[in-house]
């Protein structure tokens, strides 16, 4: 169980480009959090600060009681696992199984635990049937699942997924959904960056909106996707259900498909106007 805290964190790249400014976040152990925002808003930089790939220029990042400035990235990666945005930045083995096994083996798990957790991670990510395949013979979307398996096999308390929804089909999205609930059952914290607003509203209670290097909102979906000022500043589009509800002139707050279907059914079948 690891509590994650960012206290007034700013980060400037060596060339002087400021990427994140005055970021404060508190993520209790076991929580599921989505980070959304435009390209260039600072999302990837923010999560790289959480696992020590980057160190804050000012402010503190606390992983449990560790200050990331005093630990190596290797140490922090035992607690915070980061799945890269581009799977090709991460994969370096010729077989799926050896790729997934690399992490747990290096964690110093004994043979039995290494085997067990490798198989568990491959199963959960739907890549067991490709155990002996070369990851580079697989579609991008499946390679992404290989990289997720490699990180969860290290059994970190906090798992960061950088755009796992990119390029996923209906089946891939359903697999991600199962994965999120399994990790939640195990008490893992999962922080996900995504551009898929439908996926966000279906799967995340807490949403963090970033725009122009800062956090501009940290709230529930209903309080974000019906707030014009937040949408405007972050240049986000509301999810499809909210767009349809507003085209139909329905009351604010409808976000889920079932809600919209029920509402319209009431209206259309049981007496016109509600």
């Amino acid at each position: 169980m690891t509590h994650l805290q960012l206290k007034d964190v700013s980060f400037t790249y060596p060339d002087g480009t400021s990427a994140v400014e005055h970021l404060s976040l508190d993520v209790p152990s076991g929580q599921r959090v989505a980070i959304i925002g435009q390209n260039g808003a600072g999302k990837t930089t923010a999560v790289k600060l959480m696992n020590g790939l980057l160190r804050p220029t000012s402010g503190d990042v606390l992983v449990g009681d560790w200050d990331t400035k005093t630990k190596t990235t290797a140490q922090i990666s035992r607690k915070v696992g980061y799945v890269f945005q581009n799977p090709d930045d991460q994969i370096f083995h010729n077989e799926v199984m050896s790729e997934v096994r690399f992490g747990p083996k290096n964690m110093g798990f004994d043979e039995e635990k290494t085997e067990e957790i490798t198989n568990w991670a491959m199963d959960l990510c739907g890549v067991s049937e490709y155990a002996d395949e070369n990851p580079y013979n697989m579609p991008y979307s499946t390679r992404k699942f290989v990289t997720i398996a490699s990180v969860i096999a290290m059994d970190p308390d906090i798992i960061i997924l950088d755009e796992p929804t990119a390029g996923q089909d209906k089946i891939g999205l359903a697999l991600l959904s199962t994965l999120l609930s399994e990790l939640e059952k195990l008490g893992k914290t999962v922080i996900t960056i995504t551009h898929d607003m439908e996926f966000v509203t279906e799967h995340f209670e807490r949403i963090i909106v970033m725009a122009n290097r800062r956090v501009i909102a940290d709230d529930k979906a209903a309080n974000i996707f019906y707030q014009h000022d937040i949408l405007e500043e972050s240049m986000l589009k509301p999810p499809a259900v909210a767009r349809m509800a507003s085209l139909l002139g329905l009351p604010n707050g409808i976000l889920h498909k079932e809600e919209l279907v029920d509402y319209l059914k009431q209206q259309l079948l049981l007496g016109g106007n509600v």
Partner: protein, 284 residues
Amino acid sequence: MTPIIQLDNVSYSYPVSEDWILKNVSLDIKKGSFVSIVGNNGSGKTTLCNILRGFIPHFHKGDLEGAIKLDGTDMSEYQLGQLGEKIGFVFQNPFTQISGVKDTVFEEVAYGLENLGVPVEDIYERVEEVLSLVKIQNLREKNPFELSGGQRQRVALASIIVMDPDILVIDEPSSQLDPIGTEHVFEIIRLMKERGKTIILVEHKMDLVAEYSDELIVLDKGEVLIQGPTRDVLASDVFNKAQIQYPHVTEIALELQKQGVPLNFLPIRDSEITTCFENDRGNK
């Protein structure tokens, strides 16, 4: 309209593989049309793109059966270089497409034109035009490898459309882009269609597919299940059984229809939600 690309009973398996990745695929792509290829991952979309752009059989060997015609001429009779001028391909993964031999975005976008032997002054003009079209003027001096995923995706698109090919084959152009950036990329693709280009798109975001495509080709396990006008395909039983994501508005309308709400027509675009139901909802 005349077909610009025709496939007749095409089957293909990659070298050293025993499986047929595509099986008896027949289809026509009409000149100037916007066609989207949809299907779940592993259905053969990227392989089909490789055939449509001539990469199979020119680069990938393997077993290829059936006839592939580009502008009425057999694909194998073209040189790869000729195909490069006729067909532009935007990679699914922009990290793969960036050449790696150029230090700035400007040079990266100019690279294709240099290889085509375009006069230097024309290159400047065309690159400038495309940079502003794709809205990446501000990135011109940046190193392509220092860009974010979304920025690279725009550079990848720019470096292809600058070459002005007749046919654009585009494999998930917006997977790394935010919703507004995605819409913008689709607007650029629409503009290309208005300029007379033939567009072949692979995409999972069905709301956008429905909004922009004239026709859909549905792939499943290497076979074409159906090809036809977008709305007809989405309304077909074949599509329903294929377990592919519907546009959100279509999904909602179909659910309501199942629960007994009569529809005027099957909506495929968000805006149609206001007119697709038979009952007047009372909002005039």
